[in-house]
Symmetry: C2
Subunit: 367 residues, 2 copies
């Protein structure tokens, strides 16, 4: 199967799936056909968190590696049985256009490189999974969406919590009226950054500090828990610029959101405390997860009848990581759009820019 | 003992206590001398929460009642053995000047009446315990402080959490460096208001909505946990004015505080969800209480070594209510100032006015 026949097969599968998505998935499974991922950027998250999860996937497999470090290509190539011809440097990456084993490129680089690799992947005819934040500016995010659209390829952002059972349960509870109309969301995300040399505190690579890295989880949670887009934003920053870690990016930037329904969110984003939790509350009760958006260990409590109790969400078949990887493959096989497409990443980016503006100007920014 | 000799005795005790407070308290205890409280305003909080706690007190006793409802005076007068001559209506209240059994008047009326009763109590030569918020405006709070100062009487505000063991432990942990420099405080206080007829939603009586009533706990906690005064305030309000409950006052008004050390606070104040908790976090750990400022049932967790664990605070001898009541008595006996004097209430009021202004004007208000 060369690139052309593959693309045609993909189109055919997509056309079929629009009328019968379940049948398309069943057929792919019966044929043992899995979509191939190239991992681009072999850091901790890609190699230690994502790559081991392909073994759980029904519709996805790891078929290529892209890295600037030859030793990593050799090590993980051997470990995952990736042939040398499917190991790419950033210089040889564009040759991936001729690699029929690759359907999707998963971009896991520092944030400011997401745009260029997404554009190159789309130009090579590949679908793209891109880590969050999708880019370091709204302009870059728009360009990525345009590039994938022009190439007729799908773009999905790595919002893995949307495939995590506790988060899915909280979304269902909040959206299903179990809490009454959502009144307040409190979402706190942070960790203690102490290494002044990591790329996350270099503005040219990260685009910003805690908000780009971890505060985005508070923001995205407030949006998926309400199912609404905020109409106003407040923010307050606290950064010790004399600390070399924070010479270029913000430490703490807490923000407030107001949603059209009247729901509000108070969100923490910090590099000076470890926190990973949220609670969504309404007149009839609340549900909280702590930790909420971590790689594992989610713990849930709900107060639905005047008493706080531990809660176990309905089981799901796959980890959040495999769920995320397979979702894009399923969307390609069935011709559907991902639930967290590029446009979802762009919505977060627009609000992130509003948060920075609100903090800088000391005023409520309307959206 | 008439009023004059009583006042002289009080002055003498105060003078002695300045040099030997412990001795003054021991002597009062040995003599079985307790300071007498008049409860002014016989609603739920006074009659069901406070009055039963005098039995726990070492230095305080209930000696008079003030109410606009004769039935209440009769009922609680009989229950607590208060003689008829020490039962006052709001019209006869000023005669309390001649009641030597009363040292302190505890004002538990709707907020907007705090000023006038504090002034009348001070004019009658009585010390004053006043519920929070101390008043409905900074101007009223200042007048109350001036009235008590002019009368040479003490004014204390009913911040009972300052006598509650879990809160004391959290203050000690945060202030003692166990968390590292405090980075963020998240404090959420709310309950679900549904009665459009209660005084709390009548602006002329309450001065404001959830912030005056329950959000003040979030605010006061952020201040006692940092031991600092905020220098900047953001706020975001969400109120459905078509709901008769909220025709006059705000429902949700969440706020953010920035402290001189760089510590930040994200606070919820709402009448549309039940919440009563806070967490204070720094780079080395966090401590949380949930419920935090309730009448009882405080539950604490701390993460001081990378793991969240239940925590039991050091025991204290008395309930927060008895601790609060006795504190003012002890201050009078020893000539000391209360830890939560009128000035403490005034600090909250100034910030409350800034919070309303920040929400109204959509901008950061500097303090």
């Amino acid at each position: 199967m060369n690139k052309r026949t593959f693309l045609q097969a993909g189109l055919a599968a997509g056309a079929m799936a629009a009328t019968a998505p379940a049948a398309a998935l069943a057929q792919a499974k019966a044929e043992g056909r899995k979509l191939g991922y190239a991992m681009l950027g072999l850091g901790y998250y890609a190699t230690q968190i994502i790559m081991p999860r392909f073994s759980e996937c029904e519709h996805s497999k790891l078929t290529a590696l892209v890295s600037g470090t030859p030793d990593k290509l050799a090590k993980y190539g051997a470990q995952y049985g990736i042939p040398e011809k499917s190991r790419y440097s950033y210089y040889t990456f564009d040759r991936i256009i001729d690699d029929p084993t690759v359907d999707i490129v998963y971009v896991v680089t520092p944030n400011s490189l997401h745009r260029t690799f997404t554009e190159r992947a789309a130009k090579a005819g590949k679908h793209v999974m891109c880590e969050k934040p999708m880019a370091t500016s709204v302009a870059d995010g728009e360009a990525m969406i345009a590039a994938c659209k022009a190439a007729g390829r799908k773009l999905m952002i790595g919002y893995r919590s949307r495939f995590e059972p506790h988060n899915l349960d909280a979304i269902a509870l909040a959206g299903g009226g179990a809490l009454g109309p959502v009144a307040t969301i409190v979402a706190d995300h942070g960790w203690t950054a102490s290494d002044p040399n990591m790329w996350r505190v270099k503005k040219a690579l990260s685009g910003g500090g805690s908000l780009m890295d971890i505060g985005i989880y508070s923001l995205n949670a407030a949006r998926y828990l309400t199912g609404e887009e905020p109409i106003a934003v407040n923010a307050m920053e606290s950064t010790d610029r004399s600390n070399p870690v924070f010479a270029e990016v913000e430490d703490t930037i807490n923000f407030q959101l107001l949603f059209p329904s009247g729901a509000t969110a108070n969100c923490v984003s910090t590099y000076s405390a470890n926190c990973n939790r949220y609670r969504v509350s309404g007149p009839k009760g609340w549900v909280e997860i702590d930790p909420a958006t971590s790689y594992g260990g989610q713990t849930m409590r709900a107060n639905l009848d005047g008493q706080a109790k531990p809660r176990t969400p309905p089981a799901v078949r796959k980890s959040q990581f495999a769920g995320q990887l397979d979702h894009l493959s399923e969307c390609i096989l069935t011709g559907r759009d991902p639930i967290v497409p590029g446009e979802e990443g762009l919505k977060d980016l627009r609000i992130i820019e509003a948060i920075y503006q609100a903090a800088r100007e000391g005023r409520t920014v309307k959206l």
